[in-house]
Symmetry: C2
Subunit: 235 residues, 2 copies
């Protein structure tokens, strides 16, 4: 049977083979939740980059620009890192250049995978459907927080494994543990994450509604895919 | 309150501050379980090294030597990586040089900590007692398997956190998740680990009795401590 594994941090990605492997990058709070939201609101293309200055320079090329460092948006950018900021008219048809603390790093580190998707609870079923149709192995790459594993991305990984039970076999202990963590949390994700370090960071930023929004399952039926150095959705 | 964290892999240790932090290195199957067993059987000193040839060269200096790579012991060594091989008369008063796939690497990467201990289920209470007496923060460093997190070391970390509930506060999500994983597994550790990747590797080597032994709590009241480049126990 096909195998599914979980990489709990981008700093461990060198230990995982990407050959014949579909990778799902997840950064629930909030990069991949924002990307899914942007595509659901009509964005045409998202370019994830690692450097804030480079991101800013893309403004001159017609990109809308989005940046986040340590949960905060520097001045002069079109979007902050809230999924609500992408639910506006100007997103429709736009090209967006994005840089975030963790999510864009994770995407760039997995870009050699034959299939690279962006996942969030918001587009869970689309991710699961794509993995059911994939014929190789699968890896959920958690963006974590500055290299450290985090709860919400691990819970998403466990949720994907749970949804694929019978279709994929758990590859290794990290996947087994993520699945267990999800099983404990699944009935009430909001309560489950309330003790997590990142939620505490976000609560200090006053964005409780972002947390609730990012934990909603299947709000959007879009699947961002890495294609020629950019994220796109099938039209 | 003091904080306790968990580093799930030696490849993530660069993300953790060791300042004023007591580190417990754990490699349940089987390096730290063997070290605890050796000291309980009278070993005087253990020198963990990363290189097999260097380990072998210490034989000429009067050390008993122990090596393991991928679960197997190369020819010419006094001990394999089973805790039963240390329950023999020649261990008493001996100096032992050890190299293993994961455990010795983890110890070497944490050697700058102000207090570095070797932990296993076998000496759980000694570890917990030492951390209750420590006045700084604490970190459990899981040896894992070739850089990947594993279940049994994570469960030990969760167990230590559980025992220290009320004395230390969980620092971050990895610690929170390890604690949750332990709570699921605590009533029957042997059943809990039977689906883990490393147990499957060990079962192929025919060492079921090692697994049961390494999951026994508090069999020995010894605490190996890193002192001047070697492991020793208080006399």
């Amino acid at each position: 049977m096909r195998k599914i594994d979980v990489c709990l941090s981008p700093d461990l990605i060198h230990l995982y083979s990407l050959e014949n492997t579909a990778v799902v990058v997840v950064d629930i709070f909030r990069a991949t939740s924002c990307m899914v939201t942007a595509f659901a609101n009509g964005a045409q293309e998202i370019l994830p980059v690692e450097d804030v200055d480079f991101c800013q320079s893309k403004k001159a090329e017609g990109y809308l620009i989005s940046a986040e460092r340590n949960g905060i948006t520097p001045a002069g950018f079109d979007f902050d890192n809230s999924p609500f900021s992408y639910q506006v008219e100007k997103v429709k048809g736009s090209k967006i250049c994005v840089t975030t603390t963790n999510g864009t790093v994770a995407i760039r580190r997995a870009e050699k995978a034959p299939l690279l998707m962006v996942g969030a609870f918001l587009n869970l079923s689309k991710v699961v459907e794509a993995l059911k149709n994939w014929e190789g192995d699968a890896l959920v790459l958690c963006a974590g927080w500055k290299g450290k594993p985090n709860l919400e991305d691990t819970l998403f990984a466990g949720c994907v494994i749970d949804e694929l039970n019978g279709h994929y076999q758990v590859a290794d202990d990290a996947a087994l543990m993520a699945w267990q963590n999800y099983n404990i949390a699944s009935k009430d994700l909001q309560t489950a994450v309330k003790n997590s370090s990142h939620v505490n960071r976000l609560l200090k930023l006053g964005i409780e509604k972002d947390i609730a929004f990012c934990l909603e399952k299947d709000k959007y039926a879009v699947l961002p895919i890495w294609l020629s150095g950019k994220l796109k959705v099938e039209s």
